[in-house]
Amino acid sequence: MDSARDEPVLDVRGLRVEYRGDGRSVVGADDVSFSIGAGEVFGLAGESGCGKSTIANAVMRLLKPPAEITAGSIRFQGRDVLALDGRELRAFRWREIAMVFQSAMNSLNPVLTIGEQIGDIFTTHEKLKKRAARERAGELLELVGIDPGRLKAYPHQLSGGMRQRVVIAMAVALRPRLLIMDEPTTALDVVVQQEIMAQIRDLQRELGFSILFITHDMSLMVELSDRMGVMYGGRIVELANAKDLFAKPLHPYTEALMNAFPPLTGPRRELTGLFDAPRTADSCGFHVRCPDDRSDCSANIPDLREVAPGRWVAQSAQGAP
């Protein structure tokens, strides 16, 4: 029992995803490793295009061509996710890992009612009859504070916040062990964003699932996450306990990302941009504005090194942060 608890829910090792075009391939994620324990909230932060969503989709095996997993392993409670066949994969999805997508606005089918869309989770996975599925769908809506009478509503009849809550209700329908949230509040205003985050926290406390939480909003992430990783250019550049990382970022990119959100109080400071050079084969693109002397890693982002227990940062062997 204890060993099962110690075993991570999700374990990603050396994951590499490539987008293969005609004769040219772009690396979406490279040598990404992290694990998420039971009931843990793991945050993945980084700017747009850094590979966060690529990781999320890879874990669910939702990558579509030309994207392709070319190296690494993904294990979910000891099961090899990459080895699942079509049938196993369908049973695995949503029951074990559910996902809240970046654009909840568009993740609902406009021509089916909310009830039908929640219900087909139960008719598919639990072979429930339509009537029973509808009842369960109603209970789920209540769970996220929506009147079950809205089961007959179509997505366009709900507000953005309600739609996002419907999607969250759908995500916890089968009590999955892991919930992936890919920027779940990006399209919402700050007030609704707070409501949704509170809702997620409550649900997590109640149902005890783990969360892979993806966002570019560092402050939002620190609020929710236990541990977090910072991604840049398809690689994780820093991995640590969220509070430690926020208190004392070790990688210059982490620091830059945190500074990208100006504090509301305190003295005025000039904002520094993230980077201004494209990432190419012989430049990580960031070293141009890299505050510290990192000339040793300018050509490539180095591998993660453990500098203190549980604190990993991308730096070369001799480089000090």
């Binding site: 939702l62 369908r90 997508f101 970046q102 568009n106 993740s107 089918n109 406009p110 009612t113």
Partner: protein, 325 residues
């Protein structure tokens, strides 16, 4: 419901406009068609036929508004005058006896083409880039680009004359009386195959391409990824999530096609000597049968409006977003 009533109001208005135009056009036509027709038939016309024509062209001496009232009244009582070429059969009776055949042929061809084309399009888009997707669209576009009459004549010659599989003309075997018995229905069905099939052959390609393209765009939507993440079965995702949304533009096209069922089958009916409205319209034009032409035009307008109205209702059922309160 209110949306439907509002649409109904609009369609009634459109119908009134078309009746009025139908009334005014012959009366404003330059020249005197009656004397021209009289000259053409070289005095072979019955006095009643002449009176019919004069009435039609407003040559009776009553004021225009009085004639208009009489005309509208007669349209709504189904009295469209007397046909000249098939004197003394009333126009409504001529149209009535042929409308059924046109509807049968047109609706069969349209429904088969739309259903088959859309299904092919769905499959092609779902297996995009596969063998099926590489073979069918170009093939069907190739077939569809033949001039229709050429294809129809070819089919008639091959399957009708040379192979003798299908009858050459008419809608059922001579000597049979129309009725709901097996013999008559079988005869009507074999007569329907060639005309309907040729129409399907030239139209199915565009249905397929249209559906394929919309379907590919729909397959990239987030709710499709969401449906996959939910672990739904591929067929449910394909039909309830992707095709159900991609179908909407096809429904609009279906409505347009439905409207042209009555007016558009002219070529088919002429080639296969199928006793429908189109065949009759050709005869009416050749015989300068103005009352019949007028009646047919009115029928075509009415069916276009009716078809559009039906599709409006259907669209409201299919797309919840157009249900405005």
């Amino acid at each position: 419901m209110r949306l439907i009533l509002r649409n109904l109001g609009f369609y009634l208005l459109a119908f009134w406009v078309s009746i009025t135009l139908n009334f005014l056009l012959p009366r404003f036509m330059p020249g005197d068609p009656v004397s021209r027709m009289f000259a053409r038939t070289q005095g072979g016309m019955q006095p009643e036929q002449l009176a019919q024509l004069e009435k039609l062209f407003g040559l009776d001496d009553r004021p225009l508004w009085e004639q208009y009232v009489t005309y509208v009244k007669s349209v709504f009582t189904g009295d469209l005058g007397i046909s000249i070429t098939r004197f003394p059969t009333p126009v409504s009776e001529v149209i009535g006896s042929q409308l059924g055949w046109t509807l049968l042929l047109g609706a069969t061809a349209l429904v088969v083409a739309a259903v088959v084309g859309n299904l092919l399009g769905i499959v092609a888009a779902w297996r995009r880039g596969g063998v099926f997707d590489s073979v069918f669209p170009p093939l069907l576009v190739f077939v569809g680009s033949f001039p229709y009459f050429w294809l129809a004549m070819g089919a008639l010659y091959l399957f009708g004359v040379t192979l003798g599989w299908f009858p050459l003309r008419h809608a059922y075997d001579a000597g049979l009386t129309p009725g709901f018995n097996a013999e008559f229905l079988a005869s009507a069905a074999t007569h329907l195959v060639l005309p309907a099939l040729t129409v399907v052959a030239v139209t199915v390609g565009s249905w397929m391409l249209g559906m394929r393209n919309t379907m590919i765009a729909t397959a990239a939507e987030d709710y499709i990824t969401m449906a996959q993440a939910k672990g739904l079965s591929p067929s449910r995702i394909m039909f309830r999530y992707a095709a159900r949304n991609a179908l909407l533009p096809s429904v609009t096209n279906f409505g347009i096609g439905l409207g042209f069922v009555v007016g558009g089958a002219l070529l088919t009916e002429v080639v296969f000597a199928y006793p429908g409205i189109g065949f009759q319209l050709l005869a009416a034009v050749q015989g300068l049968d103005y009352p019949l032409m007028q009646g047919i035009f009115l029928t075509i307008t009415a069916t276009v409006l009716l078809a559009n109205f039906l599709v409006d209702i259907l669209y409201v059922r299919l797309d919840p977003r157009v249900r405005v309160r």
